[in-house]
C-alpha cells in the first residue's frame, strides 16, 4: 500500500495504479472457518497473491461441486477480505448460496483451491487524514473488513455502518472492533442493533461522523442510497459492485456496469477490469442484488 493513486472524479475507475499480472495458482488451504450458519472465512497460502491482494480486488476461484450437484461453468469471484503479504495468506469471506460455494465450504486444510487473481482495482486510501465511513449490507462486509484494518493502520478514524438480515448473517463485528473501528450494527429483524436497514441510518450517521470519504459494498439498494447521499453531500465515495463475472480479466466484456455519463460507443465499464470498485460519481447502479449460484 505504498503508492495509491486516486483516479480523478469522472475519469473512470478507482485505484488505476499499475497492476502486476494476476497469478493462476493452485493454493493450499490454511483454514476455512464458519463465522455464522452460512458464512465462512477461507484463508489460503500464496505469497504472490497476498502481495497485491488489496481489499476490494477480487479472487476468481474455480469452484467444483459436491457429489450430485452441478459444477458451475464459470469461476466464482470473491472479494479479497484481507491479506498479509508477510505471512503469505489471503482471506475471502463468503456466504453459501449455491453449489459452488457449498463445495467451497467443504474444503479444508490439506486441500487446495485454484485461484486466479488478484483481479480488479481495490479501494484506495483517502488523500488526507480524517474520519472515514464504511457502509455494508449483507456479505458486502467482506472487503470492508480488511479495508477497515488498513484505514485505521494508516491513521484514519473509521466508523462502520453494518447491516444484515438477522443475527445469523451478521459477521465481522469482532474483526472491525479489533481493527479499531467504531461500529453501528443493524438487522432487519432487530436481533442485533438497530431494527432496520443501513439505508435508514445512513443520514444520521453521515451527520454524526462527518466523513471525508465513504466506502460501500452491498446489495444495489444500499449502494444506491450511499451513492446518492455521497453525491448530494459532495463526499468522495468508492463503491464496490457485485456482478456476474466470466473471464475476470477484462477480455470477454460480460460484466458490463453502466456509466453515469455514457458516450456514443462507450456506455459501460467492465466490473472486472475497470472495477469492481468505482467512484460513486462514475457509475449507474442498476437492478436488485444479483442472485448468485
Amino acid at each position: 500500500m505504498s503508492t495509491v493513486v486516486r483516479a480523478a472524479a469522472g475519469e473512470g475507475p478507482c485505484g488505476s495504479r499499475a497492476r502486476p499480472s494476476p497469478a493462476l495458482e493452485v493454493c493450499p488451504v490454511v483454514s476455512n472457518t464458519r463465522l455464522a450458519p452460512a458464512t465462512y472465512r477461507l484463508r489460503f497460502f500464496s505469497p504472490s497473491i497476498s502481495r497485491s491482494a488489496i481489499p476490494g480486488r477480487f479472487l476468481h476461484i474455480d469452484c467444483r461441486a459436491l457429489p450430485g450437484a452441478r459444477r458451475p461453468i464459470l469461476r466464482r469471484p470473491f472479494s479479497v477480505s484481507d491479506a498479509d503479504a508477510g505471512l503469505g495468506w489471503a482471506d475471502v469471506v463468503y456466504r453459501v448460496v449455491g453449489p459452488g460455494t457449498e463445495w467451497l465450504s467443504s474444503v479444508g486444510p490439506g486441500e487446495s483451491v485454484d485461484v486466479l487473481g488478484p483481479l480488479g482495482n481495490g479501494f484506495s486510501l483517502p488523500r488526507r487524514r480524517g474520519a472515514v465511513l464504511i457502509v455494508s449490507g449483507g456479505i458486502g462486509i467482506a472487503p470492508l473488513l480488511g479495508w477497515a484494518r488498513r484505514l485505521t493502520g494508516a491513521g484514519h478514524r473509521v466508523h462502520a455502518l453494518v447491516g444484515a438480515r438477522t443475527r445469523d448473517s451478521l459477521v465481522g463485528l469482532d474483526y472491525l472492533s479489533s481493527a479499531g473501528a467504531a461500529t453501528t450494527a443493524c438487522t432487519d429483524d432487530g436481533s442485533v442493533g438497530f431494527k432496520g436497514t443501513v439505508c435508514e441510518l445512513l443520514h444520521p450517521v453521515l451527520r454524526r461522523v462527518a466523513p471525508i470519504q465513504v466506502y460501500a459494498c452491498g446489495p444495489s439498494p444500499v449502494l444506491r442510497a450511499v451513492q446518492s447521499a455521497a453525491l448530494a453531500l459532495d463526499i468522495p465515495c468508492e463503491i464496490s459492485v457485485e456482478d456476474r463475472i466470466a473471464c475476470g480479466i477484462g477480455a470477454c466484456v460480460g460484466c458490463a456496469v453502466p456509466k453515469r455519463h455514457p458516450s456514443a460507443g462507450s456506455a459501460y465499464f467492465r466490473a472486472c477490469a475497470d472495477g469492481p470498485v468505482f467512484n460513486a460519481a462514475d457509475v449507474a447502479i442498476q437492478g436488485d442484488e444479483v442472485t448468485p449460484s
Binding site: L74, A251, Q286
Partner: protein, 309 residues
C-alpha cells in the same frame, strides 16, 4: 521415438503451427490472456468481433449460466475498426500464434469497409467473417441464415481483401449445409462453426428473463453434440477446411471434432473457467498422436468417417 508429431495444419493458405485456436469473444484482443501466459500455445487467436463504428454493446445482464453452458448477449461491444487497428492490434503479443480478426457489421457495405481496412494491416493473418452473431438487431445472423444473402456478402467481402477468409456459420438455421456450400462458391477459404445457439433463461424469483435482451447465445459443453453433428454434416458438403467449435474443453473433445471432419478446432467458453485449457488441449493432442503411433495430426481429420457402420 523422441520426435514429436507434426501438429501443423493449413486453413486455406494460412499455415498454423497446431490446430488449436482461441475462439472469438472470450479472449478479447488477446492482451489480457497473454498476461497470464496462456496464449503462447495456440495455433491462432481470433480477436473480438470488430465493426466499422464503435459499439457500446447490450445492457447488463449479459451473462447467464445454464446446465453445462453459458448464455451471453454481449452484443459486439468493440471500439471500432480504426481504434482496433491503431491501438489494439499493435499490442497483441506475437507469440507465433496467427492473428485472425472477427469482422461483423449491419450492412454489406460495413463488412466491406472493415475488411478493406484490415486488409492493409500486416499483422492480421486472416479474417473471420461473422455472419452469425445472435445478439445484434441488424446484420450478423440475418445474413447467415439464408444461403443467398450469405453468398452475396462473402462475394462482396472477397473483392475487398486478399487475406484468408473464414466464414463463421450460425447453427440457428435449418440450412447450415446450404449456407456452407453457398459461401464456398462465393470465395470463402474456410468455414468455422458453430457460433452460439439462441437460448434464454428466466429468473423464477423476479419472474423475468435473466438477460436484458431476453435471448442470448448458448455456448459450452451443452452445445457440443450439436456442433459436432453440424461439423460432420458440413464437412461432407464442402471441400474447403472446416474449423470446428462448440463446447471443446479438453483434448478428447478436440479429437472428436477433428475425427468428424474439422481441420482445426477453436476453444472458447472453456477458457473462462480454465485459462490453461488451450495448453492442455495442444499437449493432449500431441500425447494422443504419440500413444497411437501417429506422426501427423492431419491424419486424424475426418477419420471417424472412414469406418462405415
Amino acid at each position: 521415438m523422441t520426435e514429436r508429431p507434426d501438429m501443423s495444419v493449413a486453413i486455406g493458405g494460412l499455415k498454423l503451427r497446431n490446430p488449436v485456436i482461441a475462439a472469438s469473444g472470450v479472449v478479447g484482443y488477446g492482451v489480457e490472456y497473454a498476461d497470464l501466459g496462456v496464449l503462447d500455445c495456440f495455433g491462432a487467436i481470433v480477436v473480438k468481433g470488430t465493426t466499422l463504428a464503435p459499439r457500446a454493446g447490450n445492457p447488463p445482464p449479459r451473462l447467464a449460466e445454464t446446465p453445462s453452458g453459458l448464455l451471453n448477449s454481449v452484443g459486439l461491444e468493440n471500439p471500432g475498426v480504426d481504434a482496433v487497428i491503431r491501438e489494439v492490434i499493435p499490442r497483441i503479443p506475437r507469440t507465433g500464434a496467427r492473428i485472425i480478426v472477427n469482422v461483423a457489421g449491419a450492412t454489406v457495405d460495413e463488412y466491406c469497409r472493415v475488411a478493406e481496412k484490415l486488409d492493409r494491416v500486416d499483422d492480421v493473418d486472416a479474417l473471420e467473417i461473422n455472419i452469425s452473431c445472435p445478439n445484434v438487431r441488424t446484420g450478423g445472423i440475418q445474413f447467415g441464415t439464408v444461403p443467398e444473402t450469405s453468398a452475396a456478402l462473402v462475394e462482396a467481402v472477397r473483392k475487398c481483401t486478399g487475406k484468408v477468409l473464414i466464414v463463421k456459420l450460425t447453427p440457428n438455421t435449418g440450412s447450415i449445409c446450404e449456407v456452407a456450400k453457398a459461401v464456398e462458391q462465393a470465395g470463402a477459404d474456410a468455414v468455422s462453426l458453430i457460433n452460439t445457439i439462441l437460448g434464454m433463461a428466466i429468473d423464477v424469483q423476479s419472474r423475468r428473463p435473466v438477460l436484458s435482451t431476453v435471448f442470448g447465445g448458448l455456448s459450452g459443453p451443452a452445445v457440443k453434440p450439436i456442433a459436432l453433428r453440424m461439423v460432420w454434416q458440413v464437412s461432407n458438403e464442402v471441400t474447403i477446411p472446416v474449423v470446428g467449435m462448440g463446447g471443446i474443453s479438453e483434448a478428447n473433445d478436440a479429437l472428436e471434432f477433428l475425427m468428424a471432419g474439422a481441420s482445426a478446432v477453436a476453444v472458447g467458453t472453456a477458457l473462462l473457467r480454465n485459462p490453461r485449457a488451450g495448453l492442455e488441449i495442444v499437449r493432449g493432442l500431441e500425447d494422443w498422436l504419440v500413444s497411437e503411433g501417429m506422426d501427423d495430426i492431419r491424419a486424424v481429420c475426418g477419420s471417424a468417417k472412414a469406418v462405415r457402420p
